[in-house]
């Protein structure tokens, strides 16, 4: 047990924590509060100026306009799809890295997974735009099978987002698999379990919290994204685009729209917290 802090050490602690705490409250939570506050303001329809009159019209419009509901649902579906795809891709990849590959190969593989994170976001998104385009490699690769590439649209958005956020899923899953003691796998085999049974009964329960932890990233990053959809989304509209286009026209409406992903993410965090995912972050 650490000793109770003396008044001197408590002062030092306060001095040490004050600047970051101030930054957190003012810059971070403060801006979020102002954002939510401005959602209750209005816009003069002639001048597009913000009018500081308290009302809930924006939220009313948000909830009653079908197009907003459609876009919100589409955004949510894409975020869920990206998360599921990343989980399905990350599990075998992380398993190979942590359990199949020799110790010598682990670090290079880890670097290979991390390297794309260092490349610019736009570079990667535009690279996919080229690949998914009319004469792109994706179409060319599928052509011999009589298939067509997905072109620009919702599918393309899902593919590119899944690609962009995959490392955020691989890393926690890899860490969980590496922590899993070899003894557990041996004990399972020793008691008669084949590879599949061991995977289902021993490995998956051990990595479940890590998958949830990774999904926090893939899910929230997908919800907030609006550049990828502009680059490869064709006519697809997501919450991010709507917010971006409203910012200059109707700031309070944009603020009200921004509340949607915030609420969704808070709900999601509450859900995964129950699964113990946040303990491993």
């Amino acid at each position: 047990m650490p000793a109770a802090p003396t008044s001197g050490s408590r002062l030092r602690l306060i001095a040490l924590l004050a600047p970051p705490l101030l930054w957190l409250t003012l810059a971070y939570l403060g801006s979020l509060a102002i954002l939510l506050l401005s959602a209750f303001w209005a816009t003069d329809s002639f001048t597009s100026d913000v009018v500081h009159t308290w009302n809930t019209d924006n939220f009313h419009e948000l909830l009653t306009t079908p197009v907003y509901r459609t876009i919100a649902l589409r955004t949510l579906s894409i975020a869920v799809a990206v998360t599921v795809i990343d989980a399905l891709l990350a599990l075998p990849m992380a398993f190979c890295m942590a359990r199949v590959a020799g110790r010598r190969w682990r670090r290079p593989l880890l670097v290979a997974v991390l390297t794309p994170l260092w490349a610019g976001y736009l570079v990667k998104a535009y690279a996919w735009r080229v690949m998914l385009g009319e004469d792109g490699v994706v179409g060319a690769a599928l052509a011999p099978f009589g298939l067509h590439g997905p072109g620009y649209g919702t599918t393309a958005v899902v593919i590119v987002l899944a690609y962009l956020w995959l490392p955020y899923m691989i890393l926690p899953v890899y860490a969980a698999l590496e922590r899993l003691p070899e003894r557990m796998l041996e004990a399972s085999a020793d008691l008669g379990a084949g590879a599949w049974r061991t995977l289902r009964s021993v490995v998956l329960p051990a990595v479940r919290p890590a998958v949830f932890a990774g999904s926090v990233f893939t899910f929230s990053l997908s919800l907030g994204d609006y550049l990828t959809v502009q680059i490869v989304g064709g006519k697809t509209q997501l919450l991010g685009n709507v917010i971006a286009s409203q910012v200059t026209l109707d700031l309070p409406m944009a603020a009200a729209l921004s509340a949607v992903p915030v609420v969704l993410i808070v709900c999601y965090l509450a859900a995964v917290r129950r699964a113990g995912a946040l303990d491993s972050l």
Partner: protein, 359 residues
């Protein structure tokens, strides 16, 4: 598994073998962990592999379990060649040193795992898991998680998990290593009892000679990937085949070369167990070692150290020419007058108790 039902129970003397290793060698890179080992464990036997850490005894166990593949040689379980059989198809279960319980499963699910894997119906599975938990005296713990148990309780869960479907062989890797002394001694008795009542062949790995001597029907002393001696505890203790065995199993006075000639009276390497040496009143004047007509050997020495260890006392005696002997004495009766630090004291032992060991 049909063959588990027809297995002979305790009491029936049987010479069938449960485990057989033939010229088994295991290399890890350039290191030879197991070197051409031949080993036979009889059915229903409590067999211990005793050796210092790094002697290759755990590797031997892992080879039998199937976690390691031998570089050369042949492994048999109940007469069947299992050299290339994966662990999940061998009729042997392991109790791991760190227990390796599945943390996300309840005690009951852990214990029932072997049955779950084989697709045993739920009702039967649970009944047999409870039964196994009763055997290790853990009734009422079925719903707990491993993290909520003490070390001793986890140990019992690991035992129940490995015994639940009555494997032909139970492999125990330093199972009592993590327990405190009192619990360890209690578990020694219990393990032996469990082995007797179930009739399952136990193959135990330990570095603790007490453990091996107390529980085993037979012991194999392992050193540097080879077996130095195999035999019942009494034989290994009383008639060690090598100087290493004499020193590792129990404490002993090893006398070599010049010292052997001076103390034992013959050239070679000799072992005298410290409890076989009697303390007597010293001869006057102090004498070097001599043999007497009744087949005893006596010598006078100086007490340099006395350690009182509860039931017995350990004396260190310096002989003329600087040889030292350790003497263990049960604290039954009063000591000779001179049994005090720096006192002159007589030592006497039966000449047969100084037995030669190949060095």
């Amino acid at each position: 598994m049909a063959e588990t039902e027809t297995r002979t129970r305790t009491g029936t003397t049987t010479t069938r073998t449960a485990v057989r290793l033939e010229a088994v060698t295991k290399d890890f890179g350039t290191v030879r962990a197991v070197d051409a080992v031949d080993l036979t464990v009889r059915e229903g036997e409590f067999f211990s592999l005793l050796g210092p850490s790094g002697s290759g005894k755990t590797t031997l166990l892992r080879l039998v379990a199937g976690f390691e593949q031998p570089t050369a040689g042949r492994i048999e379980l109940a007469g069947d060649d299992v050299t290339a059989t994966p662990p999940n198809r061998r009729d042997a279960h392991t109790v791991f040193q760190d227990y390796a319980l599945f943390p996300q499963m309840s005690v009951e699910q852990n214990v029932a795992y072997a049955l779950t894997v084989r697709g045993v119906r739920k009702a039967e599975r649970l009944a047999r898991a409870r039964e196994a938990l009763t055997t290790v005296r853990l009734d009422g713990f079925a719903a707990r998680r491993p993290a909520e148990l003490s070390g001793g309780q986890r140990q019992r869960v690991a035992l129940a998990r490995a015994l639940v479907d009555r494997p032909a062989v139970l492999l125990l890797d330093e199972p009592l290593g993590a327990l405190d002394l009192a619990l360890r001694q209690e578990m020694q008795t219990e393990l032996k009892e469990l082995q007797r009542t179930t009739g399952i062949t136990f193959l135990l790995v330990t570095h603790d000679q007490d453990e091996a001597l107390t529980m085993s029907d037979r012991i194999a002393v392992v050193r540097d990937g080879r077996i130095e001696q195999t035999g019942p505890p009494v034989e290994v203790y009383e008639r060690p085949a090598t100087a290493f065995v004499a020193g590792f199993v129990g404490t002993t006075n090893l006398l070599r070369g010049e010292a052997a000639v001076r103390v034992v009276g013959r050239p070679g390497t000799y072992s005298i167990r410290p409890e076989r040496i009697l303390l007597t009143e010293p001869a006057e004047p102090p004498a070097e070692a001599v043999s007497s007509a009744d087949g005893r050997r006596t010598v006078t020495g100086r007490v340099t150290d006395i350690v009182h260890a509860g039931a017995h006392t350990r004396f260190t005696i310096a002989l003329p020419h600087g040889d030292r002997l350790t003497v263990l004495r049960q604290n039954l009766t009063g000591l000779p007058q001179s049994a005090r630090p720096d006192g002159q004291i007589g030592l006497s032992w039966d000449e047969k108790d100084a037995f030669p060991v190949p060095s």
